[in-house]
Symmetry: C2
Subunit: 82 residues, 2 copies
């Protein structure tokens, strides 16, 4: 299944608990869209969050993230890895 | 050691081989700065590359990437993960 990196801006000051809760909210509903969120990384200082997922499409990621309450600003397919 | 996500823009059309060569160029010299590049993901369509690393500082990452010929556009510490 294709991998995607999505990016959230404007998350300045996000805490470890908030990141974990947001990630859990995704995991709780991701199956309904055939998505799996593998990992999330956050920079509280700049307010940037990166989420790595496997998903059938960018739209499926968008729907899960929106329903979980945190619409992403960018979603990039990342077909190449090293 | 702190983790960082750095981002390269303007890499439209990057190939799997080019990504692998760039990553290998980093790996070849990273020890000199105490950096370890763990993984890289590329979106050839938008020309975006994400690199995840462990490093003593953003400056150390900057030096390795510059010497390897691909200066990053952003370097974010990512102290939070989920």
């Amino acid at each position: 299944m294709p991998q995607f990196m999505d990016v959230h801006h404007g998350m300045k000051g996000i805490s470890a608990d908030q990141l974990m809760q947001a990630h859990q909210a995704d995991l709780a509903i991701e199956d309904e869209e055939g998505v799996h969120f593998e990992k999330a990384w956050a920079d509280p200082e700049s307010g940037t969050v990166y989420c790595l997922s496997e998903a059938p499409s960018a739209e499926a990621i968008q729907r899960v993230h929106e329903r979980a309450g945190h619409r992403p600003d960018e979603i990039h397919p990342v077909p190449l890895t090293a």
